[in-house]
């Protein structure tokens, strides 16, 4: 009994070190807030109804012309549209419509439809925390993926199979 008591601090150290090690190595992001949208029907949009009802998977991307990470992920959307024939709906968040249109005219427009959410009301229904954020909605209208932050090359690995699955 007494010997076990002496081991107690050591055991706690091992448990703590194990937890910290796992946190460091598992790639867990403690700042990640997750998403409750996944697995739920996509919230309604007042535009792009045809795109969302097309029976094909759709990507929904919240962006803004003032947002630098959006600039970074923009070429990826161009590629998804041109090479993968993906249907992408863009929503300009807290952005002037003319600024968003000019941004798309300058860089290229990957969107099948563009909507505007100037007061951020729509974004709340999608559980948005900021721009850019991207959702993948499957052929049945269920949200399958939710990316907070800019898409990267690595994310294509999860996006492409789901895009292909329904089309």
């Amino acid at each position: 009994m007494n010997r076990a008591l002496f081991l107690l601090p050591l055991m706690m150290l091992v448990i703590l070190a194990g937890f910290f090690g796992w946190s460091l190595l598992s790639g867990r992001d403690p700042a990640s807030i997750g998403s409750v949208m996944i697995g739920r029907p996509a919230p309604a949009l007042p535009f792009a109804t045809a795109e969302l009802k097309s029976g094909k998977p759709v990507l929904v991307n919240f962006f803004a012309s003032w947002c630098t990470p959006c600039l970074a992920e923009h070429p990826l959307f161009m590629r998804l549209k041109e090479r993968e024939k993906a249907t992408i709906v863009g929503i300009a968040w807290k952005d002037k419509p003319e600024a968003a249109r000019a941004w798309l005219a300058r860089l290229g427009d990957p969107f099948a439809a563009v909507g505007f959410d100037q007061d951020g009301k729509l974004a709340l229904d999608w559980g948005l925390s900021g721009v850019p954020e991207t959702y993948l909605i499957d052929a049945k209208g269920i949200v399958r993926l939710h990316f907070r932050g800019p898409l990267t090359e690595r994310d294509l690995g999860t996006i492409l199979p789901l895009l292909k699955a329904g089309s």
Binding site: I33, V36, L128
Partner: protein
């Protein structure tokens, strides 16, 4: 004394600074008070552990507005909270709910306290009542007597 009262009154009048702007506030003070209460319990989703009531983030402002819209539409406080958790999950609650996933969080601390307290109590009781030494046997008593007698001599 009177000066002290005045200072106290002044201090009471100074409420802590909130991010909520006057233009956001509801006209009905009762509703606004409820909105404040809710705003203090909801976590801003882009800040590190800040309530939406204290945050200047865009999303926090939108959330404050949504809270007031729901309240003005006649929602109860619980319905407003449910509205937010439906969109942002339990993350949005500054006070985590009591459910199977958070049992360790809620009960872990008290449990460790109870265990440690119990162990301490046991140890203390053991120390206070040491076992009385076994009485000497006849043989031992005879030996002790013999030894004592030898010392006296």
């Amino acid at each position: 004394m009177r000066r002290l009262v005045r200072v106290a009154a002044l201090l009471l009048a100074c409420s802590p600074a909130f991010a909520t702007e006057p233009s956001e506030m509801l006209k009905d003070p009762a509703l606004e008070a409820r909105a404040r209460e809710i705003g203090r319990a909801l976590r801003c989703v882009v800040c590190q552990n800040q309530a939406i009531d204290d945050s200047n983030a865009e999303v926090a402002r939108d959330m404050r507005r949504a809270v007031r819209e729901r309240l003005a539409a006649g929602d109860r406080d619980e319905a407003v909270m449910a509205f937010m958790t439906a969109r942002y999950g339990d993350y949005v609650l500054l006070k985590p709910p009591f459910k199977p996933g958070t049992l360790v969080l809620w009960l872990g601390g008290p449990l460790v306290l109870l265990l440690a307290g119990g162990a301490l109590l046991l140890a203390a009781r053991k120390r206070r009542a040491p076992e009385p030494p076994a009485p000497l046997s006849e043989e031992e008593r005879a030996r002790v007597d013999a030894l004592l007698r030898r010392d006296d001599a």
